[in-house]
């Protein structure tokens, strides 16, 4: 029988996972930190002290460092030798780079006709519906989430786990910049009809047009984000 003050049991509790762990403590800590980061709860450029976070999350410094390394590898944190880790602060150039990657992935997925399935397409439709429902009750943060789901579903049309992982990491990184746009109507709402249109084109197998629409969407979204970014720099 496991003792209650076993160190493992305690740290598992702090990370909020009482069920049999599928991942190591380090990975679960990384998951918890990742959630904080993509929700914008820790501001970019913040220094994350090992001591402070280790005790806050109830794990040892060694374990926390494993989590830090994983997140640095995902570009969410920046590790400066002998100085510590910082929340990554994206530049306008990073945003451009990220959108270029998204365009590469999403257009390739749309073109990959052979791997499109009914289930994959209906996942798109579901995300569109979610977005409209969220807009109905003026939940602009929910509209943003639905939009993320929509584009994740587009990437998934390629039916390639490596591409899914790339997309997941790219979107996580992008969210670091996202929080400069407070979840306001103006940022998320305009894309609802775009998604609806792209979804319909994919349902109708109009891949050429879907690509064009998607590329236009990405370009506009990038521009809007960069503009907001530049405005903030002044």
């Amino acid at each position: 029988m496991s003792t209650l003050n076993s160190e493992r049991a305690i740290s598992a509790l702090f990370v909020g996972d009482t069920k049999p762990a599928l991942a190591s403590t380090g990975e679960r800590v990384a998951d918890a930190l990742r959630a904080l980061l993509i929700e914008g709860r820790i501001a970019p450029a913040t220094r994350m002290s090992e001591e402070a976070f280790a005790s806050a999350m109830g794990v040892s410094r060694n374990t926390l460092r494993e989590a830090f390394r994983l997140l640095a590898h995902e570009n969410l944190l920046v590790h400066e030798l002998n100085r510590g880790v910082f929340v990554r602060q994206l530049t306008a150039a990073d945003i451009h780079s990220i959108y270029q990657v998204r365009e590469m992935i999403e257009l390739a997925a749309v073109r990959s006709k052979a791997t499109h399935t009914a289930a994959g397409i209906s996942r798109l439709r579901l995300a569109v519906t979610q977005g409209l429902a969220a807009a109905e009750v003026e939940d602009w943060s929910g509209v943003g989430t639905a939009n993320m789901n929509f584009h994740t579903a587009i990437a998934a049309l390629a039916a390639n786990e490596r591409i899914d992982a790339m997309m997941r990491r790219t979107l996580a990184e992008q969210r670091l910049a996202f929080h400069v746009m407070h979840p306001i109507r103006d940022f998320h709402e305009p894309y609802l009809p775009d998604n609806e249109r792209i979804c319909r084109l994919l349902e109708d197998r109009e891949l050429e047009e879907a690509q064009a629409e998607l590329a236009a969407y990405l370009e506009r979204a990038e521009q809007q984000l960069v503009d907001a970014y530049r405005a903030l720099e002044n």
Copy 2:
């Protein structure tokens, strides 16, 4: 003055880096292990004991675990909870997935006309020349390396650091499978004229044709690798 039996200094020596370290020991250990893995020095499915590798590389288990986590994140190792880490053994499905990613990246880079530069193109030409020179002296392993450089240079035409990183990791992963093909003439030589042709098409800005050639090359290479793989499974 640093004492000679300082722990840091010793581990730095063992990892073979006496110069001021730009990376932490964990990262340098990961680099060293990565080199072993992509050179095929540690066979797929091999279990890598923490104890054994930590002492072999002259670092603590904590430090080694950091390196293991990074490499698992890069898909070179598989981490099974409470069982340890193993060298990843790619399946035929993995090979297909990897080539799909390469096609996505490399074709996008070729299409990305706006970012092509003279320097980028000449990097391609250099790789072609290296390949021919290696073939001249029947250094088939060298031909293989030149081929890797060629395709890395193609991805670099997109002028996007994130895409470069994806390509680097994808090729590293692919090399795990590569070693089923011993560095024999038959595997590497046929691609020399392909690379020459693709290079010339890019120099001439014949992007459509370059894409077609590249796609054909990737399909053939994938097929050859999968065939060799299936043969080995019997």
